[in-house]
Subunit: 273 residues, 2 copies
Amino acid sequence: MSDAPSLKQISLNQITTEQWTLEEAVQGCVRQEISWISVWRHKLQEVGLTKSKKLINDAGLRVSSLCRGGMFPAATAAERRERIEDNKKAIEEAAELNTDVLVLVCGPAPDRNIESARKWVEEGIEELIPYAAQHGVKLGIEPLHPMYAADRSVISTLGQANTISENMKTDQVGVVVDVFHVWWDPELYKEISRAGQNILGFHVSDWAVPLPDIFKGRSMMGDGVIEIRKMRKAVESAGYHGPIEVEIINQAIWNQPGDETLNQMKKSFIEHV
Amino acid sequence: MSDAPSLKQISLNQITTEQWTLEEAVQGCVRQEISWISVWRHKLQEVGLTKSKKLINDAGLRVSSLCRGGMFPAATAAERRERIEDNKKAIEEAAELNTDVLVLVCGPAPDRNIESARKWVEEGIEELIPYAAQHGVKLGIEPLHPMYAADRSVISTLGQANTISENMKTDQVGVVVDVFHVWWDPELYKEISRAGQNILGFHVSDWAVPLPDIFKGRSMMGDGVIEIRKMRKAVESAGYHGPIEVEIINQAIWNQPGDETLNQMKKSFIEHV
């Protein structure tokens, strides 16, 4: 008997092979028999949407999510309007790539007022709901680790993401659970259970000690202290059985050949996820 | 009218002038008319307890807290026993220095099991209560930023610290609020209010963007994004009116003359705390 997840669930989050173009990542997945990929928009833009779609479809890959929408708070109403428009574009791209999840990294405050920023996040998500529904795309609020509260997202806990998601009163909005961001939370398992069917994605990596870097500090599963398997079982119990994205932002991993990374990913996935 | 706190409340947390010995820090406080100091145990050990006490008393300084007890979790029962004994020694030192607060940095897990580590923290604190009471010293649980959950403390939120403190059902245990550790928390103001009279200390610094370093990354008040004044007013409304420690761990600040730091501290305190 094995506790391991099925390799059919593994998804390459494209940031894990940041050194690769989308075409290289797609080819890598084919070579390594990985059937899911999570696409980043800056990689999409390099190739263009039409060609990206063709590359992915021709390879027979499925897209687990598009990274990323969000970044709602901004100093002026005009800038916040631009952010909304950009999110609409991201929704269109997600629909075009046949993924039903747009991951939201909600953004930092433009000033010291974190409360206003959080309000703008809620307003932004609410405004996007009809457009997302029209395109068959769900909005996945990803709480980011509190160490990113000042520069990436004012949504820092799963509890906070759950509350926003629940307040929207629609299946169109849910949450994304990334072990790196939430593992430390004393309320974690309660909040995973509360999220239930609203879990739209599950991301894995690890927290090594000492942390190599604030931004590029994520490690391969098994190389850190996170109880990844326990969390994977918890999200499964809560009702999530979709793809599991390996999302590792780490310069050392970007420096190695992508195929080596994909091989390590699969091995670590079976052993530690 | 001024919203500023009184300079009578400012306390030099000794780590802010890590380049100074205890004697130098005491002399600096006298020169700069700072009447409170928070003493670190590694500095105490350099001089010895008796001489430290004399230095502080002769200078007419008062000790806002002793840093730090805690570090409860360990792999073996024997090691955990040693940690308890060391905490008892810290309680004795705090009593000897006439401070009624021992700050607890509760410690990381020795392995991946964060839940067990949290249990050991609670057990450790509970065991110390009678000894602390006997010595007239209160135990201040300081939640540390979640980015330190793997290497410094498994107590990461004020809510968690409040729950432990309340569970102990004694005035002997309370919480310490450090703006750097808790500013990001969506539950912050609710938890400050909940903490009420159990707040045993208030520490200030700032979170600059980008953060200069994970450990040595704290900045002078005003140089970052934390709403320090709002938080100071909240702890006052909750019932805390004691000394306010300036606790900045930052290599650049350690590299400058200590008197310059003390001057900046006072200026920033009036402007931003």
